[in-house]
């Protein structure tokens, strides 16, 4: 079975937020909210500074606490690629998933349901990359099947050093950052 994931090259990323803007226009994310965002980590002292810029979103964890804690079954793992989704009309907006997510990836949509990144499953099912991946001017983002050893994402993970976010949380995230 496929397991969709992202491999993001932090060396190429310039943190321009094109991924954020593309997500917002693709999905009509309401003003003041976002499903993906940029973080910067600065290390060292001048002039020997280093900085990692990351585009972050729901990690579509293989061990998703947001799904386990959902009292209605609105949060679920999609049959394709292990993508974590929310069925809006089943969600009661109780925020248990917001509390459970270690990545702060979810928000309550003004219409009352928990919302977050869908890995653009509507695009992926048509053979397209997620909007954030397709727009990226630095081509730092790669989307594919982590379970397929021949996929570009698997190849990148084999050949480059990488890390995921909060591995200690035990969520088994599906997004990896090349360093």
């Amino acid at each position: 079975m496929a397991r969709y994931g992202m491999v993001i090259d932090t060396r190429r990323c310039v943190g321009c937020m094109d991924c954020v803007v593309a997500c917002k226009t693709e999905h009509g994310v309401p003003e003041g909210y976002c499903r993906d965002w940029i973080t910067e980590t600065v290390m060292g002292e001048s002039p020997n500074l280093r900085m990692e810029i990351r585009t972050e979103r729901c990690n579509h964890c293989a061990n998703p606490p947001c799904v386990y804690c959902c009292p209605t079954g609105a949060s679920h793992v999609h049959e394709r690629g292990g993508v974590v989704l929310v069925t809006a009309n089943m969600c009661i907006g109780c925020k248990a998933c917001l509390a459970a997510c270690p990545y702060d990836a979810r928000f309550i949509h003004p219409d009352g349901y928990a919302d977050k990144c869908t890995f653009c499953i509507h695009r992926v099912e048509k053979g397209l990359d997620p909007a954030c991946v397709a727009v990226c001017p630095t081509r730092c983002m790669h989307f594919g099947d982590l379970d397929d050893p021949e996929s570009e994402v698997s190849r990148l993970l084999r050949t480059r050093a990488s890390h995921s976010l909060l591995p200690e949380a035990g969520t088994d995230p599906s997004i990896f950052y090349l360093t």
Partner: protein
């Protein structure tokens, strides 16, 4: 003095503000060929190819309509500029259409200028008013008393109307306030401009040197894409910047230079490369002029001499110079874009040109290519009337190497009335109050005018001072002049409407054409519709207009762009060679080889104010775009973290900045960071709007433009250096 808070504001009447989502529905008018083969393929989704206008890069775009309404825009995969991917501003371009703060109808001022009292009028009334005033100006002062400030391709038809009216006083701030010194420095050396898009082969550079140029924050799409490629390939990147920019974080070597001393570093680099004979001897001998005198004058500029000036230790200067030489000719010392910094900018840019010349990168892969273009004839208009007086901006060639019109020269002439009076300004697509240094001077000039017309899409600060405000359709709602691009490969691109304008906005060509009619200049517009005009030009070039409408662009055959591909090395300097020593400059009384002068220090305890770009905004024109404002709604003042601690500020604290002349800024949040030197502070340009019509952007962040009251004019070409201002921080209570 407090110009920022005492500024008078425009109050655009906005009785009927449509909900953003309700704006812009598709009517029954034809919009060219619509292809339904777009990315989504969903029912009700249609696509239209066009090109972007959120900045001036003109990226090819595929616009999507869903159920007749504008949905999203993506890069056109066939377009050499976007290569299928827009920058964040382009992606957020749909917000320009939905912006609820847009200008909606023509406005005529009803009270004193600056009182912001308006009435909505019809286009006939507005254009009739303008034509009457323009005819009065022509009768009283001659047609040259009208000036046009214009930015971007949309200004083409206004230039045409104004030239037909009889004036050549037409300027873009992009020369004297932005890239002018670079073009002059390269012209004096290689006999040619860098141009836009820059002819830089970043993708193939094995060593890339950025001096204050913050690619990745400065989001010129193709350049950033190529920069990421260079990073991905492991090219050696050297970044010189007082601020640890995003580009610096990708660099092999980061040089945190003392602001204003870049020329000292450039001279020391050239000293090392000449002294150690690391330069491209064959290239220099074949193409160079005056190398002996040039190298002799470099002798004094040792790395040890440069150390106390720049703060960069001599070993690092030597190592980076050798690194550049190691990869030549595929070493690109980037000329930058906004380069009006310290008043010696043409000479600093010339030093960059000379360093590239030593490395042999001009005309070589990984350096500078020779751009190509398609031959598209201009429309056969009648001859323009011969101006009776020369242009007003540069009397007696005071700035001998200014080869474009100086916007600030027109402003000065407007204030002084010398060499002759300027009585009318038309302003298209440029917010002069934020683009030109020292707002007080701009306002003083405006007060001398009999007519100020502003054509804009949003109620910008300059619109706030206008007698007549004309609302333009945004780029997604209009045809425009063809983009006949000079680039790596030649192509022609079409901008065409995707949706209708939501209110009474009109395209630039319609406004300019109707104004010409009101002025009795109809013979200058023989075409009846813009499609007729565009079709004529495209077919005159032997191309298929219907194909252009369907595909958005037509690409020409790729031509040689490097010397070793067959480009004949030609240098349009007086000597016909690369001028290491410049007799032109010497004859005009300037240094024939750049010479270093230390920057003047600021008052004790103050910080030099630097400014730059953010990837989600263009100038001061996008802060009201709801999509882009959502990504970044205000700027921050970057302060060195130790300095901030000493002053008792932490990130998020609100301060006001006071400059050396006492001007106080809007409140702005502190960003305390290791990423900047202790002797300067930095903010993103374009924020701190004072126009009340820009309800979303009003008062968000601070304006660098308001604090730039001191500037220094480059004696070679008239550019206005703006990194000359110093501020202190005052806690906002």
């Amino acid at each position: 003095m407090n110009t920022l808070s005492r500024r008078r504001f425009l109050r655009i009447s906005a009785a009927t503000i449509a909900a953003a989502g309700a704006a812009g529905t598709l009517g029954t008018r034809g919009f060219g060929r619509i292809s339904s083969s777009g990315g989504s393929g969903a029912s009700g989704v249609e696509t239209v190819p066009t090109f972007c206008d959120i900045c001036f890069w003109k990226c090819g775009t595929i616009a999507y309509r869903r159920d007749g309404k504008l949905w999203k825009v993506e890069g056109n995969p066939d377009d050499p500029l976007s290569r299928g991917r827009l920058c964040p501003r382009g992606t957020g371009g749909v917000g320009a259409h939905f912006d609820p703060d847009r200008l909606r109808a023509p406005l005529i001022r009803t009270h004193e200028r600056g009182e912001e009292k308006w009435k909505e009028v019809t286009w006939g009334e507005a254009l009739g008013f303008i034509a009457r005033r323009m005819n009065e100006i022509k009768a009283g002062f001659g047609p040259e008393a009208m000036a046009l400030f214009s930015h971007g391709i949309g200004g083409t038809f206004f230039k045409h109307t104004l030239k037909a009216y009889g004036t050549q006083n037409i300027a873009a701030p992009s020369f004297a306030q932005c890239r002018g010194p670079r073009e002059v420095g390269f012209r004096l050396t290689f006999g040619d401009d860098v141009g836009s898009p820059e002819r830089t082969d970043i993708a193939n550079a094995r060593c890339l040197v950025l001096i204050g140029s913050h690619l990745g924050e400065n989001m010129h799409n193709t350049q950033v894409q190529e920069f990421a490629e260079a990073v991905g390939k492991g090219s050696s990147i050297i970044v010189v910047d007082p601020r640890f920019s995003v580009a610096a974080s990708k660099a092999k070597v980061y040089l945190p230079i003392k602001p204003g001393t870049d020329l000292a570093l450039l001279l020391a680099w050239m000293h090392v490369i000449v002294e150690e004979e690391l330069y491209d001897r064959e290239y220099v001998e074949k193409f160079g002029f005056g190398f002996e005198a040039f190298s002799a004058s470099l002798r004094q500029y040792t790395p040890e001499w440069a150390y106390p000036e720049t703060g960069i230790d001599p070993d690092t200067i030597r190592e980076t110079a050798r690194e550049m030489a190691r990869y030549r000719p595929a070493t690109l010392v980037h000329p930058g874009r906004h380069v009006n910094w310290y008043g010696d900018d043409a000479q600093r840019s010339r030093a960059i040109a000379l360093l590239n010349a030593l490395l042999g990168s001009w005309g070589r892969k990984g350096g500078f290519y020779q751009p190509a273009s398609m031959d598209v004839p201009t429309y056969p208009y009648p001859e323009y009337p011969e101006p009776e007086r020369p242009k007003v901006d540069n009397p007696d060639h005071r700035y001998p190497f200014a080869h474009e019109t100086l916007s600030t020269g027109i402003r000065e002439a407007t204030i002084t009335g010398e060499p002759y009076p300027i009585k009318g300004w038309m302003v298209y697509g440029t917010n002069l109050l934020k683009a030109l240094p020292n707002q007080e001077e701009t306002i003083e000039a405006i007060r001398k005018l009999d007519l100020l017309v502003v054509v804009d899409v949003i109620p910008s600060e300059i619109a706030g001072w206008a007698d007549v405000v004309l609302p333009e359709s945004v780029y997604l709602e209009r045809y425009d002049e063809l983009n006949v691009e000079w680039f790596r490969e030649p192509f022609v691109a079409l901008r065409q409407p995707v949706v209708e304008s939501p209110n009474d906005q009109k395209p630039n060509w319609w406004i300019a054409r109707r104004l010409a009619e009101e002025l009795g200049l109809s013979e200058y517009y023989p075409w009846k519709t813009i499609e007729e005009y565009l079709r004529w030009r495209v077919e005159a070039a032997g191309l298929d207009f219907d194909q252009l409408r369907k595909e958005g662009l037509i690409r020409g055959a790729r031509q040689p762009i490097f010397f070793d591909e067959g480009v004949v090395p030609e240098f349009y300097t007086p000597s016909g060679k690369i001028e290491f020593y410049s007799p032109q400059l010497e004859q005009a009384g300037f240094d024939p080889v750049p010479r270093y002068t230390p920057p003047e220090p600021g008052p004790p305890g103050s910080f030099r104010l630097l400014f730059g770009r953010a990837p989600v905004h263009s100038f001061s024109r996008t802060q009201s775009n709801p999509v882009l404002a959502d990504a970044m709604s205000e700027n921050a003042i970057w302060v060195n973290d130790r300095v901030a601690e000493r002053l008792g500020f932490k990130s998020g604290d609100r301060v006001r900045l006071r400059n050396q002349s006492g001007v106080l800024s809007n409140p702005i949040k502190v960003k305390a960071t290791r990423r900047i030197r202790p002797d300067c502070v930095y903010m993103v340009h374009g924020f701190g709007h004072t126009s009340k019509g820009m309800r979303r952007a009003f008062g968000k962040g601070a304006s660098d433009s308001g604090l730039i009251t001191t500037y220094k004019t480059d004696p070679i070409m008239g550019g206005t250096a703006m990194n000359m201002n110093f501020v202190t921080l005052e806690r906002e209570t």
